[in-house]
Amino acid sequence: MSTLTTHRTPVDLDIRPPKRFAKIRAFYGGSSLGAVVTAALLVAVISLIVAGPDFYSVDNFGILTSYIAVPLVMSAFACVGLLAGIVDLSVGPMVGVSAAIFAALGPQLGFWPGAAIAVLVALAAAAINALAVVRFRADSIAATVGMLTILSGITLAVIGSNPPTYIVDGLFAFSLGALGPFSYLFLIAVAVILAVAGFVTFHKVGRHLRAAGGDENAATRAGIKVGRLRVFAFLFGGLGAGIAGILYIGQNGGPALEIGPSLTFQSYAALMIGGFSLVRGGVGNPIGGLFGLLIIGAVGVLLDLQQINNHFLDVVLGSALIVAVLVDRLRGGDRFE
């Protein structure tokens, strides 16, 4: 095991890539996507073995892609926080509170006012997180655990014992639509992922974000305003959560008390499988998160097809998480002594 330390420098890994397509490779995350794509292929093969060729029906792809669309939107926004070196555990509950408020207010106030209030509440929660973490330097995991508790209380107060139902006809019909095997919502989510990937790879602010997450002190010395970037990352995640909450209602027609925690877990598990890290910023590519969610979604659909107890999803996810982080470490990630 000890020889592994010699492979930790990124230089070691990037010997091969030629200068040609360097930009494209950078966009796809360079070698960091190798592992998650391999894992996705692996899941694809396992699915074929377990479920047979039936698994590759247009229907199943439609189910898979629409199931992961909302978490995908949420992850696309939340991953910017991870890049900037903050972990916001309250993004899932933000989706929950946004969904609850949108479903409760939408029928009375109309679509846009309801949606605006829902997004604003999510943004307000994110702003409080930013204030506590950036201004007062509270630990981000711990502070957002507090926010998570607050948001679950608000969700309970809004929904009470009678979850409202709000079917937005146009959005509901849209959420059921698909282009071949890909649901429309999924295609939009992929577009969002690609946009965010482009932003963090090519845009100056995106590069600064990654620098701020990678080494805060070095970034500060280089004149990067780390605090301001982190505030931006928090608010960006909050915005994404607010939008995801509206899409959630569009797709499912109503909220529930406990959608937050499972969404958080799903998204962060996907991002970590996709090469992001909870403990160091600056690494990972949103496209990796896309593949991570494809893996999680595929396992979920597989469980449905085979009528397997959902608990196995947790076992598989838990193992996948550990393996993913192990692969990340072997690839040059931090080694924990």
Partner: protein
């Protein structure tokens, strides 16, 4: 109540800065926690005189006992540099389920043996985490996030509801009180044993040193791997004890039943001023931290707040305490 806590924090900030070790401020944290506790008690008692009673004390004692024992385990892990153990729900549920199952057997083993097996299972759980952390050398947060999901899922396949016979010795003990709940006294013993062990024994100091700086600890000849096992297994003892008492004081539970405890435990450790980056923290301060959390929870009911508002309040208190602590630390290191 939030204002009470903020007052406390601001007052602490304006107080003369201590010249203790590298920004440690146990004294201020203790004063802040105790002050906040006194304010909560006084305010609630003035508005609701019934609050000040032996019954309230027992209720608070029950609420803080299991959280308190678990937070000792969590604090040891955090101080040793292993950040957070997110597998506490599974680490508690495994012994609790085993104990409930053994007590419910038609011909049960002696209670003492059952308790021992329960505690041993807690240690086994900690050992599994340590094994994975030291072998794969990946961050404990992720290891324990993963093992918790796996553990709870596997337990969920074993049972849906576990019931504990009400007439068993363990239940009699777990539900009984001697001024304060029996299980509260057990928590007190755990804290009073763990605190000096961590501070004054060789292994305890090595553990803290490892949390402070791995390279420095290694240069002193401390076995890092050994320290990881020590931290997780000692925490495992706490989870085992907590699991046994959980089974003794909860007549029925399901595998997901301990998930909500994790948040309280993390909140207690943070309130007690244990530094997330390791190496610093006081086990004794867990007592006022857990007491404050439990007291607030009970006091809110006296004010007639429903479950939703209770969550909002508790979360707000946590964020404000963290922000205050972070601000204080920023100033003291400047």
């Amino acid at each position: 109540m939030t204002t009470a806590l903020t007052d406390q924090k601001t007052r602490a900030v304006t107080a003369p800065r201590p010249r203790t070790l590298k920004g440690d401020h146990y004294g201020i944290t203790a004063a802040a926690l105790l002050g906040a506790l006194v304010i909560v008690i006084v305010v609630t008692t003035v508005l609701h005189p019934d609050f000040f009673s032996g019954r309230t004390l027992i209720a608070i004692g029950f609420t803080m006992a299991i959280t308190g024992i678990l937070s000792v385990g969590q604090a040891i892990i955090t101080i040793s540099g292993a950040v957070l153990d997110l597998s506490i729900p599974a680490g508690l549920m495994l012994p609790a389920w085993a104990v409930a199952t053994m007590l419910g057997a038609s011909n049960p083993l002696p209670t003492a043996l059952i308790v021992l097996i329960g505690v041993a299972l807690g240690v086994v759980w900690g050992g599994i985490n340590a094994l994975i952390v030291t072998t794969l050398k990946i961050n404990p947060i992720i290891v324990t996030l993963g093992t918790n999901f796996i553990g709870i899922a596997i337990l969920s396949m074993q049972f849906t509801t576990a019931t504990v016979p009400g007439r068993s010795e363990l239940s009699m003990f777990g539900n009984g009180s001697l001024l304060l709940p029996n299980i509260w006294w057990v928590m007190l013993v755990v804290v009073l044993v763990a605190a000096p062990l961590l501070r004054y024994t060789r292994s305890g100091r090595h553990l803290t040193a490892t949390g402070g700086s791995v390279p420095a600890a290694r240069s002193r000849g401390i076995s890092i791997r050994g320290m990881r096992y020590l931290a997780f297994c000692t925490a495992g003892i706490c989870y085992g004890i907590a699991g046994v008492l959980f089974a003794g004081s909860t007549s029925n539970f399901n595998p997901m039943g301990s998930a909500s405890l994790l948040l309280s435990v993390i909140a207690a450790v943070i309130l007690a001023g244990v530094r997330m980056d390791g190496g610093r923290g006081s086990i004794l301060l867990l007592l006022p931290a857990c007491a404050l959390l439990a007291t607030v929870q009970t006091a809110l009911v006296f004010f007639g707040l429903d479950a939703a508002m209770q969550s909002v309040f508790q979360g707000a208190i946590l964020i404000i305490a963290l922000a205050g602590d972070g601000y204080l630390r920023k100033r003291s290191t400047r």
